[in-house]
Symmetry: C2
Subunit: 123 residues, 2 copies
DNA sequence: CCGCATCCTAACAGATACTG
DNA sequence: CAGTATCTGTTAGGATGCGG
């Protein structure tokens, strides 16, 4: 059989990859996926790790990522609830690229702050 | 001299890197930066390349990226206006990592769509 | 041609309270 | 513990019109 799909292109508004791209680069999605790169996490662990995320947003984000096949959700017991989140194979392949982005930003921070200061001087 | 800064950490809400990270992973920022990876662009060219972006959002995005020292803006004539946007050295270093992310999403699209379908079958 | 200013709405995001 | 529900404020983002 042949692949009848033409190549995906995030630059095209109508391409489905655009939506997936936004799921993946979302504010909390990147942090959640990167946290999960270090191994399985429970909901509360993730919440503490991703500083500043609300229960609602984390829950919402995880649902989207699970739907996209990047995160696996497993209920291990019901009383008290114990839910583990892990990366799928696809998520595992994605995580290093997000990590590279995070590392870049963290390393470049001094230069960015310097650029801002320089710009503030001459309006 | 010594660097008195402790390591940046995007997982901490208070760390300045978190804000820079959001600038960089913003919906339009990634696309604009990746477009500029292919060489200098004028405003209108960028607008056409980044399908779906409004003038306002593109303008806003470029201002943020310029402020962060990732994009350089150069006015080349005034009547008619001719403005060129290029990546700075920092932006040039960043672009390949965004490209890697875009490539991943475009390549993974079939798997993501398959995951969604599989999930829709069993609610 | 490039972009800013204004206005307006819809989606997003936080806090709180509640349930299995 | 792991969420859902609701309510409300904030911001993203589109449309339009104008100025350099």
């Amino acid at each position: 059989m042949s692949t009848s799909q033409q190549a995906a292109d995030v630059f095209s508004r109508a391409c489905p990859s655009r939506e997936v791209f936004e799921d993946v680069t979302g504010k909390w999605a990147v942090l959640a996926l990167s946290a999960l790169q270090q191994g399985p996490h429970r909901f509360g662990e993730l919440r503490r790790r991703v500083d500043g995320v609300s229960e609602k947003m984390l829950s919402q984000t995880l649902q989207v990522l699970e739907r996209d096949g990047l995160v696996h959700r497993e209920v291990r017991s019901a009383t008290p609830p114990h839910v583990e989140y892990t990366l799928t194979d696809l998520g595992t392949a994605l995580a290093p690229r997000l990590r590279a982005l995070i590392d870049f930003v963290e390393d470049a921070l001094p230069q960015v702050l310097a650029a801002r200061t320089a710009r503030d001087d001459r309006p």
